[in-house]
Structure formats: C-alpha cells, structure tokens
C-alpha cells in the first residue's frame, strides 16, 4: 500500500475546475514533487490531501485513511507546512513548537526532548527563546518544518517550501529536508514552481498545468523523454522567412520552437549544432544577437508537454543554485 494514493481527484469552484481528475501514488520514503506554474492547482491539490478542503470528486488515502471519511486519522499521521507562514510572530520559536506539540497531544514527558531535538536539527537552538518576528525568512521556514515534525509524522506535506527565500536559504532548506527525510524515514510531498527545486530534491516529479497532470516520472527520465540533450537558445537579426526550416535542417537538431523571436533548438549534440548554427548564420549574413547552450531542464520538459515555459524561468536564471547544492 502506498503512503499516498490519489484517484481521479477533482475540485471545482462553481464552474471553474481547479484540479481535474488527477491520479498518482507516492511510495514510502519518496520525495514527490508537484511542479507547475502559479495557478496550476498544486495548492488546491495539497489542501485536499491535507483535509483543508473537500474534493468535489475522487478519493485520496493517506496512510490508508480516506481524507473525507477519516480526516482526524489523516491529520494525526501527517505534518503540514502550508505556503503561508503560520507560526505566531509574538511567540518564541520554542513556544510555537510547544503549542503545536500540545495540539498534537504529544505526551508531556516527550515534549521537551522532542522540541530540543527539532530545534537542533533545524539549527535554531540558539534562537529558541527569541520571538519569531526577529527571525529571518529562512529561519522561519526552518521553524515551520520543525513544527510540522513535532508529532513525528511519517508523511510530510510542504506547499511551496522555499517561495520568497533567498538562494542561500533555499539551499539550506533543501539540505534540511534531505537530512530529515533520511533521519526520520519520511515520505515527503511538496509543491513547487521552481524547476531546480524539483530537479534537485525530488525522486519523482508530477508536472501539473491548468489542474491536470501532464507528466509523471523521475526528473532524469522526464528530461530523457523529450527530444535532445541540449537546448540552444538563440535570437537573430534579421529573421528571414524560412529560417525556422533552416535551423531544423542543421545536424543533430531534433526539434525547434520559436517564441517571442527566440529560437529554442533541442539538439543531440550541442557543440556540433552550435558550430553549424554559426556557420549557417554567417552564410546567410544574419547576425546572432544572443546564443546560449544548456542541458535539458524540467522547464524544457514543461514546455514540451504544455507548449509554454514555467513563468518563473527567467527569474530563476538569475539565481542559479546548481553549483551550491549536491543531491545525495
């Protein structure tokens, strides 16, 4: 039995369908990602799984408990870190954990030890008695993670865990999640619109767009499922008629798409295609205004399956964190 079983789950708000018949399973010990742009339905989906809203159709079982029939049993077995920071700003880090330990009926004799261990594992022990409003965004997020684990759940849900954090804090949160997953034998389901987060952190990724599940597999297999190992992005001046066909005819080119005067060329051999591209441009007396070569990303996967880019891709390009994080 999988830890999380979702069958044809749907949520409608009036005439609007936010989640449309999504099905997937999450096995024990996985880090499972729901990747998609803002408004794709990820948060709605995770809220149904965490009993915050009721599905319109379909079922979901968490640890064998139905989210509609047995919500109390579901709540007892999961930890949830919502997108909004839910820690009380006027209470200290320790006080926040204490309140939630009581809400989860953690026995008195275990509470103190649990809180101390959690603060150590999220590296907030020095800030235990400081008001949460004095903590940075990254520290507050780490506290939220600790709060979600105060009752030792086996399944952890995180809704956009690193949204709004600086690059260093994001990497710190990733490392923390990986460490906690190993230490506590956790199953983690997280939603994100950051492709690097899904790529680095998740064992499997489900791509969600407009409420539908469009692809599901490991990041590696998803990237391998689309044409080309490399993506060349180039813009030209001028762009004559037929130039798209010319690019398609270059050696090793598997696919070309044009969007806003930028050509995205999927190639099986990036360096060779680059050379041929430069030569073809020179022959046609076309100036290459910009050219970049990169390996296939989940953004390319998203574009392949949906025809659009993840909206934050341009933003993410400013914060390349790949060199900072080593996936274990």
């Amino acid at each position: 039995m999988a830890d999380i079983e979702v069958q044809q789950i749907t949520k409608r708000f009036g005439k609007f369908t936010a989640v449309d018949q999504i099905s997937f399973n999450v096995e024990h010990g996985e880090i499972f990602g729901l990747l998609g742009p803002n408004g794709a339905g990820k948060s709605t989906l995770i809220r149904m799984l965490t009993t915050l809203i009721e599905p319109t159709e379909g079922t979901a079982r968490i640890n064998g408990n139905d989210v509609v029939q047995s919500p109390d049993e579901v709540r007892e077995s999961i930890g949830v870190i919502p997108q909004a920071m839910t820690s009380d700003l006027d209470l200290s880090a320790e006080e926040n954990l204490l309140i939630f330990a009581k809400l989860y009926s953690v026995p008195r004799e275990r509470r103190k030890r649990m809180i101390r261990e959690l603060l150590e594992s999220v590296e907030l022990e020095q800030w235990a008695d400081k008001p949460v409003k004095n903590l940075s965004g990254g520290m507050r997020r780490r506290l939220e993670i600790a709060r979600g684990l105060v009752h030792e759940p086996k399944i952890l849900f995180l809704d956009e865990p690193t949204t709004g954090l600086d690059p260093v804090s994001r990497v710190s949160v990733w490392e923390m999640l990986s460490k906690l997953k190993s230490l506590r034998d956790l199953t983690i389901l997280l939603t994100t619109h950051y492709m690097d987060e899904a790529d680095k952190l998740c064992d499997r990724v489900a791509i969600v767009d407009h409420g539908k599940l469009v692809a599901l597999d490991s990041p590696l297999k998803l990237k391998a499922s689309i044409p080309g190992n490399n993506i060349l992005e180039a813009s030209f001046e001028p762009t004559p008629d037929g130039w798209l066909e010319t690019l398609k005819g270059l050696p090793d080119v598997e696919h070309v798409a044009a969007q806003d005067h930028v050509f995205r060329i999927a190639s099986g051999n990036g360096p060779r295609t680059t050379v041929e591209l430069v030569e073809a441009s020179r022959r046609a007396r076309i100036t290459i205004r910009s050219l970049s070569v990169q390996s296939t990303t989940l953004d390319d996967v998203f574009m392949h399956y949906t025809g659009r880019q993840l909206r934050d891709t341009l933003q993410e390009a400013k914060y390349d964190t790949s060199f900072m994080y080593q996936r274990k």
Binding site: L52, E54, E76, V80, P82, Q83, T86, S87, L103, S105
Partner: protein
C-alpha cells in the same frame, strides 16, 4: 502636482472597491446620530411605583385615583398596588420598583384633623434622572390633589394639605458612580472586540488558522479555545476596571469580599455573552476590515440603549426593543445593582440567567456556522 493626484487617485480607487468601508463610513455616523439623538433628553416614562395604601380611606382612594390617572394619561409611571409594605421595599431594593408611595394608616384621619397628612415617596435614588422625574411628577400630583379638592367651586369642609415626604434609600450617587457599571461593561466589550474579534480575523487573514486546521484539534475544541481565550482577556479587563473604577468613583466599601465575588460572577457572565456574540458575528468573516469597521457601530448600538448613561424609560419604543435583547442591558443592570445598591444575587438572578442563555444560544449558532475546513 501630477504625483499628488496619482496618490489621491490610487487611494480613491481602493476606496471605491471597498464597499464595506464605504457603507460603514456612511452608516456609523447615521447610527450615532439616531441612537445618541434619542438616547438623551427624552421624557422618562413607564417607571414602576409601588403603592402601599395602609389607610384605605376616601382621601387615600382619591390619591390612588390620581395615580391611576397619571398611569393612563402621561404614563410617567405605572402604579403597582402592594398590600405588604415589606414586599414593596424588598422589590424597591431589588430594582423591580423605582419608588414606593406609602400612604400611612392615619392619612385620612390626619386629613380630617388637618394635622399635616403626609405621604412618603421612598425612592431609588441611584438613578438621578429617574428619581428627579418621580419626585417632580408626584410633587405635582400631590399639589394637584390639594388644588383639585378646592377648585371644584365647592368650598371643602376640610382644607386638604397633603405633603409629600421624599425618602432616598441610598446615599447620594454622583454621576461618575452611575457611569461605572456601563464603563465596566464597555471595557469587557472592548477587549472582546480587540482581543477577540480583531485578532481572530487578523490571524485568519494571515493564514495562522490553517496551521491549526491541519492538526487533530476538533471543531468544538477550536471554538472553545478561541472563545475562552477571548473571555479570559475580557474578564481581566473587566476586573481591572472594576477595581480601579470603584476607587476612582468612590464606591463605598469597594473590596467587600461578597460584593467582589458577585461582581466577578457577573463579569464572567458578561464576558462569555459578549465573546460568543462577537464570535457569532465574525465566524464567517475573512476581511480584517470588517471587525474594525463594525466596532464603532456595534459599540453605539449596544452601549447607549443599555441604559448605561441615561434611563431606558426615556427611550422611544424601537430603542427599548433593542435594549430588551441587548446583553449590555443586563450586564449594566446587574452591575448597577451590585455597585450602587450592594444587592445580593436575588436582584441580579434574571440578568445572570439572560446572559448565560444568550451565551449558550450564540455559541450554538456559531458552532453550526463555523467551518472546520478552508
């Protein structure tokens, strides 16, 4: 200048898109105008005067007839006949009567003997507006009794010379003491509003409640937790104001243990009634602007009709109807009895029962409306 206009435009666009703010900014002053306009200076009517006729002679009967005429016509007071003077006094002390008119056993004989027949008005002087109205009306009535007897064109065989002796049951009550019960109730209400309503909605808007909803806490536990937390804060506010206010206002013997205990019970009942009312009003509200916007309107609608600053007997019918259901009314009435008259629980039993029942009903309704999901 363009930049100034840009800032003005931005604010006005936002204002236009906030119907709550627009409505309340118009409604609140209107509510204040109407409520305050009718809350002060009205003619006091429908007081309750116990009549103890220990004489039963013809002069006494004539006097009682005049009382009946005032009841029917001017309606300043309603005359309630008592055969037992002790019961009348007990009801006076317990707040069921505003005054007792005692016609002594020898009134008729003294009238015939022309030896200064007098009737006694024993009045509850804790409300100066009421007591001066009663005094004035009954003085006029006795004067009319004396004049009537002589103005019929027939020379009476005996000149009527009845006099009204006014006896005040309690020591002089300055206005600050009169206001204290309303202020205690107001302090409880303000803490309920700020420490309960506003903070509750602010936390909801910030997403804090989402953190609680994913835990195993039940709907009942959530409601009880929020309400008891708000009630405790309100009780503390009420106790502080009761203590400090009693000293400032010069309440005699303010720290008598029994009185403190009774006051504490009433403060608890008031806090529970007001927090449950607040919770019922806010249970489906998500906009932080709503509790702030309604604070002033609620304050006006609840405080002034309660009789905290002016007797309810002077209010028009619609305001007296508000007063009947207003929990403030019963809290203020109970605090007045306890602080100004030092009565026992018997005098405030109904007030206590109403507040408890009000709390239970409000809480039941709020529980039905409260959503355990987003």
């Amino acid at each position: 200048m363009n930049r100034i206009w840009a800032l003005i435009e931005r604010d006005l666009r936002r204002f236009r898109r906030s119907p709550t703010l627009i409505v309340v900014s118009m409604v609140f002053p209107l509510v204040q105008l109407i409520v305050l306009g009718y809350a002060f200076g009205g003619k006091i009517k429908h007081l309750r005067v116990g009549v103890v006729d220990q004489d039963h002679g013809v002069p006494a009967l004539k006097l009682r007839e005049m009382l009946g005429a005032v009841t029917v016509n001017a309606a300043t007071f309603e005359a309630v006949n008592y055969s037992d003077p002790h019961q009348a006094m007990a009801d006076l002390r317990n707040g069921r009567l505003n005054g007792v008119l005692n016609i002594p056993p020898l009134f008729s004989r003294n009238q015939l003997a022309q030896t200064a027949p007098d009737v006694a008005l024993i009045e509850d002087n804790t409300d100066q507006f009421v007591s001066s109205t009663l005094e004035g009306t009954l003085t006029s009535m006795v004067s009319a009794y004396n004049t009537h007897q002589t103005s019929a064109g027939i020379q009476p065989r005996v000149e009527p010379r009845a006099t009204l002796d006014v006896v005040e049951v309690y020591p002089y009550v300055p206005y600050i003491q009169y206001l204290l019960p309303g202020s205690i109730t107001l302090s409880v209400f303000m803490m309920v509003m700020i420490g309960g309503g506003i903070i509750f909605i602010d936390d909801k808007a910030r997403g804090l409640h989402e953190g609680y909803l994913v835990t195993p806490v039940t709907k009942f536990e959530l409601i009880m937790g929020f309400n008891l937390a708000g009630a405790i804060k309100a009780i503390l506010a009420g106790l502080v104001l009761m203590t400090i206010g009693s000293v400032i206002a010069g309440i005699p013997d303010p720290f008598a243990p029994l009185r403190i205990l009774r006051l504490f019970v009433m403060i608890v009942a008031t806090a529970l009634a007001l927090i449950s009312m607040m919770f019922l009003l806010m249970v489906r509200v998500n906009d932080p602007l709503v509790p702030r916007a309604t604070f002033g309107v609620l304050n006006t609608l609840l405080f002034f009709p309660s009789g905290a600053v002016y007797p309810q007997q002077a209010f028009p019918g619609w305001m007296r109807a508000i007063a009947v259901v207003d929990p403030f009314t019963y809290a203020v009435h109970a605090f007045k009895n306890l602080l100004l008259k030092n009565t026992g629980m018997g005098a405030i039993g109904f007030d206590l029962a109403y507040l408890v029942g009000f709390s239970a009903l409000s809480m039941a309704a709020a529980t039905l409306l409260f959503k355990r999901t987003l």
